[in-house]
Amino acid sequence: MRFEGSSDYVTTPDLMLAVNAAITLQRPLLIKGEPGTGKTMLAETVAEALHVPLLQWHIKSTTKAQQGLYEYDAVSRLRDSQLGDGRVRDIANYIVKGVLWQAFEAEAPTVILIDEIDKADIEFPNDLLRELDRMEFYVYETRELVKARHRPIVFITSNNEKELPDAFLRRCFFHYIKFPDKETMQSIVDVHFPNLKKGLLREALEVFFELRDIPGLKKKPSTSELLDWLKLLMAEDIPPEALRAKDNKAAIPPLHGALLKNEQDVHLFERLVFMAKHNR
């Protein structure tokens, strides 16, 4: 199995190599990067390109590692016992399989996405060491060992809110999706809006990268915000000239709310624009 890229997701050569290393060596791939650089999309793309099912596990601050393996639904069993249901004799009927179990027992290889692992408790990654390394775990209720038939391809994304433990990192491949440069960004936009006017795109990219260079922004606009903004520009049918306005350098780009998501950033930006006007 080899990932050769996809027509609707721009993969840089280093990312492609990291994905293929993870696939070949059957080890998890940890993906980090600024928000909106397509970390989650990667798993979806790889699953689609390889034609294997994708199992997603979205992590919240309350998620426990155990929930990825299985959960024992004691409440249903208690209720069934009250109703005299025959199923109640077998505890296995009340074991709810988690994402990892589903992937381990699948007939064919699968792709698992463990999304935003840094949201969970600080010990969460440590609780999954053996499961991700050996791809097996023990079910205490039914005394069985669940072992992966096919080692799934595991993608883990992180937003760097918490540091991950070394023991965990050592078992993964790592890739940092860096913010795309102008060329890559152009090809990303081409993939998403094949019939975008060339003039508009050039102007938009220029405005976008200038905006990103403003020092002191709390949240720099990312790829996904650029795509949203382009969508809006196209929907409103804004001509490229409106973006350029070179004679009036201080113009506020139209629909900038799609790029700046933070009130303070918008204020800062407007203030800078105002100052630029003033100085002229």
């Binding site: 050569p13 990291a18 070949t24 060596l25 080890r27 208690l78 540091e163 433990p165 078992r171 491949f173």
Partner: protein, 390 residues
Amino acid sequence: MLIDFFLHLKSAKLPVSTKEFLTLLEALQKHVAGHSIDEFYFLSRACLVKDETNYDRFDQAFGQYFKGVEKIPGLEGEIPEEWLRFMTQKHLTPEEKAKLQALGWDKLMEEFKKRMQEQKKRHAGGSKWIGTGGSSPFGAHGYHPEGIRIGPESAGNRTAVKVWENREYRNLDDTVELGTRNIKVALRRLRRFAREGSAEELDLDGTISSTARNAGWLDILMRPERHNKVKVLLFLDIGGSMDDHIKLCEELFSAAKTEFKHLEYFYFHNCVYDHVWRDNRRRHSERFPLWDVMHKYGNDYKLILVGDATMSPYEILQPGGSVEYMNEETGAAWLRRLLDAYPHAAWLNPEPERLWPYRHSISIIGNIMGNRMFPLTLEGLERAMRLLSK
């Protein structure tokens, strides 16, 4: 194989482990990467570097180790002929061009190959062979005297050489908090779980016993979820001699802030007096009287003072001893008041423990604290947390 490379990374202070190195070898064995050095660069980075803050260090170490490797004899086939032609055209004087014409391109290439053979013998290990000696056809034609690097240029588009030599990840270094994880883990010792609030969770044990008592009829009991309910009052010394410890204190503060839900923090300078403040920029306008703080936060708060306790003893023992203003009561009196209000208290001192005996003020404060002063190291932090959680 590649052991020197691994050790080189290690000596460049990259946190690489043997397991990761073995993974890299396994990946190479399975032909994950092709034979180009770019792919090897990407692969080794994915295997060995697990934090983007280390990318830059890795780029440098990789560049150092593989300097000149891209020109190892044997790889000469990768240098396209067109390129050589182009380069010679670009850098030759008209006379030399004429000479080149006289020599003929094929002849030149032959010479080139011959020269390559010699190079292999002389520089085994692959150092650069930048052309020298203007008289030889090669030196004169092929390579600019100032040393043009042919490796990177030759492959045309983005090669790895460029990637690591660009050092694109330079500004990632040191931007992320480092080392807070250990501090967080140490702070965990303070956790106190308690059940408070609305009953949302099934109390399984309670339900079972209650159902049994109910002669088998189901009686479901609910209970509130468990929360970490430890409350922490953090006082930080700021300015003056504490400037040397800013990084450490920042790490402690950022770890504490994410670790404790109920964290109240205040700043003081050198010693606590009748008021503290919360925002250093407005330390003179927005003050919180210490009395108010003590009344507002109950004695279930755990008190942690962070400071180097290094000052003149007068600042602790004398009314009016404060360096900042005229204090009516001594720092010692205020400190004792704080300790009376909060029985669970500890002082964390960023100064190394071995220096403490030489500083009079440290021993005074240590006495007032009842020897509950700990060094601000992981080990000291653990000791302090263990004491506070008792």
